[in-house]
């Protein structure tokens, strides 16, 4: 079983690199064109399957989903990522038919879904709690949906068999949900929602009910199964790691609106706003203002250190206007020697070090008093000695590492 999985992972990896090779080599740091990122569905010429237009849901005075547009393409895994209360679950429930939108439209294969009751929609959902029927065996659970569509018995049997094989649960056909472990329950739930061959599979916090240690494994397994079936998948999660490992595209949601839609890499490397930058991973945020900007270069002054920040691209902003610079901790170099460049560095004292084994997080207090976070792998490759407490250090970074955020 495990070797099979490894082979599948290998195949997927090869496919990935092949896809990259097809792409023309382009300039870095433009949205959607980062190395290691899968091509967008449009680039793959996939067909749109689900179109959400101007979807809004209001609960009395509270707007849960606010004028959202989204297109899902055939075969992709799409994640809605946001903290609790951001409206992602409401959006999912509207697709499943458990909530009625206040306005807007949901088109599945060009057909309007609004007004269709949940039991007549060709979408299926895997619930956060899995919602397995407690009085039915694994087999009955999987067959339930097929029975509702009045398939002939033999066909139901055959489809159930197939599903059981798909999720490796053949040995447990006659067990009841309470007799299964968390991971097995999830597989049964997945098999049940895939049995009807839905046009779109909805996953509500797929790892939410699992043990932490199991999640890592189940993520990859789930993606394997979904990919092998080729179903289009929309998942909701609050766990960024989950979204990034599983999804082809991610939408970051806040207060009922999409802030950014893009591949995992794009969202991490090129956040389009301060919320997205802070939501995914950790980041140092500097309040700055623009000194000057032209096609080749932009100069930015920060309040927190004396050297300017220099970017190698244009910023569409009037000179003197405020903006925010985001800098990921792992993109900051720490050294004991003063950099030769005039820009893109600052200096401070190591205030604290958090040792995490593979890396350490350095908290460096700048001369202005501000603390900056930087991570460093715990390997002293150049034998120059790793910085330690109270060392005076210089922090520097590449111009491409800075993310300029205008809102």
């Amino acid at each position: 079983m495990t070797t099979e999985r490894a082979a599948a992972a290998q195949a997927a990896a090869e496919e990935n690199t092949a896809a990259q090779q097809n792409q023309p080599v382009k300039q870095m740091h433009l949205p959607g064109q980062l190395p290691g990122q899968k091509p967008t569905p449009q680039q793959q010429n996939r067909k749109p399957i689900l179109e959400i237009k101007h979807l809004t849901k209001q609960f009395e005075a509270f707007t849960a989903v606010n004028d959202v547009d989204l297109t899902l393409y055939q075969g992709e895994i799409f994640a809605l990522l946001g903290s609790s209360g951001c409206g992602k679950s409401t959006l999912l429930r509207m697709l499943a038919g458990f909530e009625t939108p206040t306005s807007g439209s949901i088109l599945l294969d060009g057909r309007e879904l609004i007004g269709v009751p949940p039991y007549k929609r060709p979408v299926n959902m895997m619930f956060q709690s899995y919602a397995l029927f407690p009085y039915m065996t694994v087999k009955q659970n999987i067959a339930f949906g097929l029975k509702q569509s009045k398939l002939p018995k033999a066909q139901i049997e055959e489809r159930v068999e197939k599903m059981l094989r798909l999720v490796h649960m053949e040995e447990y056909v006659d067990r009841k949900p309470y007799q299964l472990s968390g991971g097995q329950r999830q597989r049964v739930a997945l098999a049940r929602s895939l049995a009807k061959e839905p046009r779109v599979l909805l996953l509500d916090e797929p790892m939410g009910a699992l043990d932490k240690k199991l999640r890592e494994q189940m993520r990859l397994e789930l993606v394997d199964i979904i990919n092998s079936v080729g179903v289009t998948c929309l998942m909701v999660t609050h766990d960024q790691e989950e979204a990034m490992t599983m999804a082809d595209r991610i939408a970051i949601m806040d207060k009922g609106e999409f802030l950014q839609i893009g591949g995992p890499r794009e969202i991490y490397e090129n956040p389009n706003c301060r919320f997205c930058a802070e939501f995914i991973g950790s980041v140092n945020i500097f309040d700055c203002h623009l000194i000057t900007s032209n096609a080749a270069q932009s100069l930015i002054a920060s309040k927190d250190f004396k050297n300017n920040i220099e970017l190698t691209h244009d910023i569409d902003l009037a000179d003197g206007m405020p903006l925010t610079i985001a800098l990921r901790p792992e993109k900051i170099y720490i050294s004991h020697e003063e950099p030769e460049e005039k820009t893109n560095w600052c200096e401070g004292t190591v205030e604290n070090i958090a040792y995490l084994g593979d890396i350490s997080i350095y908290y460096v207090r700048l001369i202005g008093g501000r603390i900056v976070c930087a991570t460093l792998p715990n390997v002293d490759r150049f034998k120059t000695g790793l910085p330690t407490w109270d060392d005076h250090v210089y922090l520097s970074w590449d111009p491409e590492s800075c993310i300029a955020l205008t809102f």
């Binding site: 490894a6 299926n124 959902m125 619930f127 397995l132 309470y178 472990s181 097995q184 009807k196 494994q217």
Partner: protein, 298 residues
């Protein structure tokens, strides 16, 4: 050795409680097998009062009426209770919801004389308009019993309803089952224990009700408690002892089976948990395997 104080106290309390609860009933049962007509003086063992019971037509009739009313009442009260519980748990915040909750809790605590009087006056008033209500027979008693039993069935079924995971119903709907199918295939099996409990509860309450029934019942419909009450008011009689013994016996048997099914269910749950735990062990091994595989690749 030190005496375990709480355990000793618990034992004493339990013994005293059981003596207090069962001493009167026990005496009752013992004297039902007494030959003498004197309820308090033991002469010799005999089954003669049971024989007398079987030939007492008034008692047999009363038992028949009571059983009929109890069955009708329990069925109706369970249906109303299920609807009310569904409404209270699933359909939150509708107009007049708090009034609804009040209606559903008040009959449980209201003194029976008030409820009885109120229902009687209702039937008399309605009888002026619809003659059907003037006949204060089985149907009137049935309506009265349903009214106070519904409160109890609602409470029992509601507490089970609340334990249900709404996403299970949503899952069934998501898989193509319509609302009616969802109710019968998913909800009903899940609340079945509560339905049975509610049925039994309203059955015993309907069988047992005296005050409300006395207000409602016309001269032709005498229920069992009414008969016992009037006979007890006239004086103690061993026949009542025999009847009481039968009632206690039936209730004990039912209680025993209830306890048995409860114990069995707990055992089954323990077995399920054990199975799940074993499955979890296998899963843990798989996790370790997975880690090794992916770590070695990294």
């Amino acid at each position: 050795m030190r005496v375990n104080k709480p355990a000793a106290a618990r034992l004493v309390i339990i013994i005293l409680t059981l003596v207090f609860l069962y001493l009167p009933i026990g005496t009752l049962i013992v004297y039902s097998f007494n030959e003498s007509k004197m309820v308090t003086v033991w002469t010799e063992a005999s089954l003669k009062w049971y024989g007398a019971l079987v030939h007492d037509k008034a008692i047999i009739d009363a038992v028949g009426i009571s059983l009929l009313i109890a069955v009708l009442t329990s069925c109706t009260a369970v249906v109303i209770g299920t609807l009310a519980a569904f409404v209270l748990v699933r359909v939150r915040s509708f107009k007049g919801e708090s009034a609804f909750v009040l209606f559903m809790t008040a009959p449980m605590v209201l003194p029976e004389v008030i409820t009885g009087l109120a229902l009687l006056l209702l039937f008399v008033t309605l009888g002026n308009v619809i003659p059907f209500f003037s006949d204060r027979g089985v149907i009137a008693i049935w309506i009265a019993h349903v009214t106070f039993c519904s409160a109890y069935t609602t409470v029992v079924i509601r507490s089970r309803f609340r334990e249900l995971d709404i996403s299970i119903e949503e899952a069934a709907m998501d898989l193509g089952a319509g609302p009616i199918k969802v109710f019968f295939a998913i909800i009903l099996p899940a609340i079945m224990p509560a339905e049975v409990a509610a049925f039994l509860l309203s059955f015993t309450m309907s069988m047992d009700d005296l005050v409300i029934t006395s207000f409602i019942a016309g001269p032709d419909s005498t229920t069992l408690p009414m008969l016992i009450f009037s006979s007890v008011r006239r004086g103690l009689s061993p026949e009542i002892n025999a009847l009481a013994t039968i009632i206690v016996a039936i209730v004990s048997v039912c209680t025993f089976f209830a306890w048995l099914s409860m114990t069995r269910k707990q055992k089954r749950m323990a077995a399920d948990r054990a199975k799940a735990a074993r499955a979890m062990l296998i899963e843990e091994k798989a996790v370790i395997e997975h880690r090794r595989l992916y770590k070695s690749k990294a």
